[in-house]
């Protein structure tokens, strides 16, 4: 269950935790854009240093970050290896049919590897230090301009936060139903494909009915407490922009400038 990216929040109180989710989301997007500025060893070095400093600033154990990278490691290696064999240019060290290992190939594959890992690390910093509700609130603020195009941003945000809120509840319920069926002798881990698909039915149907019940109850409870579609609402969790968020944005602006200065044109 710990492999699910959404809601992998780990409580903590380092400086990253004090930052506003809006700033963190913007910084993460900015990072994914500026990472493409890096194109030589020096710029990649700065990129890595800045990323690792951000990782260090969370004060979380390195293992939780490794857990974020681990599920994707084969995809990353596969992409790097493709780069290694199919990029030409510079000195050629080895050659066989369309495959070759060249100077640029080695360099590119290492760059791609770093780029992937850094993107995963930065987004892991975001998801580990920000609760899913904070992310939903932050996204709502960022999407606000779409409201002028008649996009129902508030409703979308509400749907998003309700959905996120129910991920752990539904997981919990799924575990409970699985246990109840296992107690009745159901076996989910043996037999062929057809048998396994068949064995999911006793979990899926109660889970489905359970979610419908929850949804109906929730809608009733919300209306009972005065929720009306389209009505203006105040917020319970108010997002506050603080000095930490200027540090956050300043940090990534500095990185952008360094990358612009060190990259080769």
């Amino acid at each position: 269950m710990s492999k699910i990216i959404i809601g992998r929040y780990i409580p903590g109180d380092s400086i990253i935790y004090k930052m506003d989710p809006r700033g963190k989301i913007i910084a993460t997007f900015l990072f994914i854009v500026i990472i493409f500025l890096a194109n030589n060893w020096l710029s990649y070095l700065f990129l890595s240093i800045f990323t690792l400093l951000a990782v260090w600033a969370t004060k979380l154990k390195p293992k939780v970050f490794w857990d974020g990278v681990k599920p994707l490691i084969w995809l990353i290696l596969f992409t790097s290896v493709l780069q290694l064999f199919f990029t030409t240019g510079g000195k050629i060290y080895w050659h066989w049919g369309i495959l070759n290992i060249s100077e640029y190939g080695i360099q590119n594959s290492i760059f791609i590897f770093i780029r992937f890992v850094m993107i995963i690390l930065i987004s892991t910093v975001l998801t580990l230090t920000t609760t899913s509700l904070e992310i939903a609130d932050g996204m709502e603020w960022i999407l606000k301009p779409l409201g002028y195009l008649k996009v129902p941003v508030a409703q979308i945000a509400l749907v998003m936060s309700i959905a996120l809120r129910f991920v752990p509840i539904l997981l919990d319920q799924a575990v409970r139903i699985m246990n109840a069926q296992r107690a009745r002798g159901a076996d989910f881990n043996s037999g062929g494909l057809i048998k396994r698909i068949h064995s999911i039915i006793p979990i899926l149907i109660p889970l489905f009915i359970g979610s419908l019940t929850i949804a109906i109850d929730l809608a009733t409870a919300m209306e009972a407490r005065g929720y009306r579609e389209g009505a203006k609402r105040t917020r319970y969790r108010v997002l506050k922009w603080s000095k930490y968020d200027w540090i956050n944005l300043g940090y990534f602006t500095l990185l952008t400038l360094i990358l612009l200065l060190t990259r080769t044109y």
């Binding site: 710990s2 409580p11 139903i177 069926q181 296992r182 107690a183 009745r184 043996s190 109660p206």
Partner: protein, 287 residues
Amino acid sequence: MSIKFKNVDYVYAPGTPFQTQGLSNISFEIKDGSFVAIAGHTGSGKSTLMQHFDGLLLPSKGSITIANQTITVDTPNKVLKEIRKKVGLVFQFPENQLFEETVLKDVMFGSLNFGFSEEKAKEQAIRWIEKVGLPEETMSKSPFELSGGQMRRVAIAGVMAYEPDILCLDEPAAGLDPEGQKQIFDIFKNYQKLGHTVILISHNMDDISKYADDMLVLEQGHMIKHASPKEVFSDADWVKKHYLDEPAPSKLARSLQKVGFHFSSMPLTVESLVEEISKELRAKGGN
């Protein structure tokens, strides 16, 4: 079939920041054919303990002996399935586990999984649907057409149908009306009389004192008492200290004691309370 726990520890999510100790150093033995209650507050580890009886959770440390099988941290799945055939577990709000098209099919689900023949499973299902007090015509209905209380009975029948030697119940009567509660507990008590072991998790001290003959009290993952309900509730200070409730008849008896009544032993049930009071009144002058 006796149950034996030996120094059982259970740790939730070990090695993560969410690691918590579910059970610590639990040891006890439950006698064959007894009616055992497990009491304790929310979060005291009752449900965690219950899932160990059925091999749904395996002890992180220590060992459990059930039905001549030993469960440790690395017991294979095959052995667990054999244990599950002998240990029926009714979860809290078991109506959430119903899924079949008809009540009959749902009640047969467990029996079929445990290798009973189609006819045998059907025969058992029909018998238990009747025993839990459902009208015959519900059998062909969808379980989702029924009322909450009826769904609960279907779920309970679905576990009792394969007649496990040990029946574990997690708050089976929560949310039922008083009449329904009494009916359902009588079914469990009768099941014990047929020679089976019944284990009951309950917050309701009245139910515990009325039906159980052995009692485990848990507090924050530790077992702090293992005695008969009579012994547990005779020590009112201890009960109070651990924030448990006294059974209603004992409470009334205690206030009567303050105004001069004498009780040879603290009554736990309404019947014994009535008996004690009439004995006392007769002694006072026969009117």
